[in-house]
């Protein structure tokens, strides 16, 4: 099981990951927007944007620093959830779990029904209008098969994006949190590192080290795969169907 550990305290916002991703995967540019939102001119992950660096400006000091202002940067990516909403919703079987534990949309199968777009609790996967299919980060499936590191992790100059075996990454991430705590950055914590801390998704195969509430980074605080909540809906559906049967029978039988 492979995955990413993104340590946001090491991110310098250089966007090399965004560029490397676009370059390797030969994705089209997204229009060179100027958003006015700090240095973030990308905005959000999308069908042709599989890495996105967010810039959070806060009038709050971070950890042991003296400045009354702090900047949080995070390279966002598909989380490759252990229980993935998109995969469970996909009606065609186009979305599969690969041998590396990543979640992959097969472009030769996807028929563009758009269900995964609404089923992802992170708002990652999107359908490209002119292409008609759903696209998202593949965890560089082609590179992994050739025993290479995903393009973004390979290009990250600070080691903020780390790729590797999930078990090892988790150990590394925990010791990194301890290290940060010892340095006086008590706010550092892991997001989605294991099923215990994020039962809704069974843990993320691409997890993060964050220094503020998840909302600040545009991450959901307690994501839950939709299928986990939908039991009540099936029961209610059964009751309603029985009700309709009873109604038609009663309407017909009554003289």
């Amino acid at each position: 099981m492979k995955g990413f550990f993104t340590d946001t305290t090491l991110c310098i916002g250089c966007k090399a990951c965004e560029v490397a991703c676009k370059q390797w995967n030969q994705l089209p540019d997204d229009g060179f927007n100027f958003t006015g939102l700090s240095y973030d001119n990308t905005g959000h992950l999308g069908s042709s944007t599989w890495r996105h660096v967010s810039f959070v400006e806060r009038p709050v000091p971070l950890g042991g620093t003296l400045s009354s202002f702090s900047w949080l940067m995070m390279s966002d990516v598909c989380k490759h959830c252990a229980r993935a909403g998109c995969l469970e919703a996909c009606p065609t079987g186009a979305i599969v779990r690969t041998e590396f534990g990543s979640v992959y949309v097969q472009p030769d199968i996807c028929n563009g029904c758009g269900y995964c777009v609404s089923a992802c609790p992170f708002g990652v996967v999107d359908r490209r209008g002119d292409d008609g299919r759903a696209w998202k980060c593949t965890l560089c499936y082609d590179r992994l098969k050739a025993d290479l590191t995903p393009a973004c992790a390979k290009h990250c100059p600070t080691g903020s994006i780390q790729y590797g075996d999930l078990v090892e990454l988790r150990v590394k991430a925990r010791s990194r949190v301890e290290e940060l705590h010892a340095q006086g950055m008590g706010e550092a914590y892991l997001y989605g590192a294991d099923p215990e801390s994020q039962p809704g998704t069974g843990g993320l195969n691409a997890f993060f080290l964050l220094c503020d509430r998840p909302e600040k980074y545009n991450l959901p605080p307690d994501p839950v795969v939709p299928t986990k909540k939908v039991r009540r809906s099936w029961l209610s559906m059964g009751a309603a169907a029985v009700g309709l049967a009873a109604l038609t029978l009663a309407a017909v039988v009554t003289p």
């Binding site: 994705l27 100027f34 009606p91 609404s118 307690d222 939908v230 209610s236 009700g243 017909v252 009554t254």
Partner: protein
């Protein structure tokens, strides 16, 4: 591929900025067909509820979730599929227990079911990003995907409804089968919407399936009310209409309560275009119910009731779809549910 080319190099401009004379595209995203290159545009910054502020607990008020990509065919299918399923159920009940006194209901239900199944398939294919791959829906059987189950249901329903047009015993047996399959067909769409990360749909997960079922009953009754029927048949349809519309209105109240457990989540049903659609639907349903309840119903009242009932059913579906889109745009609603 884009028609635009770079005049200096005569390379197609597809936003990849790669000179294809120098190498072939082989990346994971190389298969992406680019119809139009994304252009710099005024950034769609839509803090849906309020201006993003420094202490605002969101990322510049940008949406957390992706808006549903479904367009008008989907809510229209919700209506048509519901109409077909409920009609088939009523038709089956009429031929089983009608003691031969409800022939027109039994016969016309078969036509509505068959035509509805064909129209449903057409609408669903129309909304696909890659229409020619529609059959891939039946590549797998995946119980975790209500859309996959629904496609199997619709296929079974279509088969039965088509066979029900045959004469004799086969037709009768198929009509019964289509009536049985029609029951889940009217209601699975509620689960389909509930099984998403969209706050409005997810929070309405108990009341969405009954909403669609009640609405389907009202739609079917409205369709039959527009036809010429015998007096006994008319009574059957009237009962179904009144019960369906009453159930719709009561369930709408329950749904408003259910989604408003977290205040922000219910907002799309109160504000904006989806709120307007939702209120329009309520007005249609109430006036339609009143028209159905008139004691000695004149012809105009019957037709008005049927038209309003249909309009209410359609408006409900569109309100739910657009409400879901508005809900996905509001990051605060998504966060509030999870906190």
């Amino acid at each position: 591929m884009s028609d635009a080319t770079d005049p200096a190099r005569s390379v197609p401009l597809d936003g990849r900025n790669i000179d294809q004379h120098l190498g072939a595209l082989r990346g994971e995203g190389a298969l992406q067909r680019i119809g139009h290159v994304d252009e710099a545009r005024p950034f769609e910054r839509r803090p849906w509820r309020r201006e993003a502020t420094a202490d605002d607990d969101s990322y510049y008020g940008l949406p957390l979730l992706k808006e549903s990509v479904w367009k008008w065919p989907v809510p229209t299918y919700f209506y048509v599929g519901g109409l077909a399923g409920a009609s088939a159920a009523l038709g089956a009940a009429a031929s089983l227990f009608g003691r031969g006194k409800l022939p027109r209901i039994a016969r016309r239900a078969r036509f509505i079911a068959a035509a509805g199944a064909v129209a449903s398939a057409g609408l669903l294919i129309e909304d696909l990003g890659m229409r020619k791959r529609f059959i891939y829906m039946l590549r797998v059987f995946r119980p975790t995907s209500p859309m996959n189950l629904g496609t199997w249901l619709l296929s079974a329903f279509g088969g039965c409804a088509a066979a029900a047009l045959l004469p004799g015993r086969i037709g009768d047996a198929a009509a019964l089968a289509s009536g049985v399959v029609g029951l889940p067909l009217t209601s699975y769409t509620g689960v389909l919407l509930a099984n998403t990360a969209v706050p409005l749909w997810q929070e309405a997960r108990t009341t969405l399936p009954p909403a669609f079922v009640a609405s389907a009953a009202a739609s079917a009754a409205s369709a039959f009310e527009l036809m010429s029927l015998g007096p006994r048949e008319r009574r059957v349809v009237r009962r179904m209409a009144i019960a369906g519309k009453l159930a719709e209105l009561l369930n709408d109240l329950a749904m408003e309560r259910e989604v408003s457990r977290v205040e922000l989540v219910g907002e799309p049903l109160r504000r904006g275009a989806s709120g307007l659609l939702w209120r329009t639907a309520t007005v249609c349903k109430i006036s339609s119910l009143i028209a159905s309840l008139l004691p000695r119903k004149p012809r105009w009242a019957r037709i008005a009731g049927a038209v309003l009932g249909t309009a209410g059913a359609l408006a409900t579906r569109f309100a739910v779809l657009h409400g879901g889109k508005a809900s996905a745009r509001d990051p605060h609603a998504a966060f509030a549910v999870q906190r």
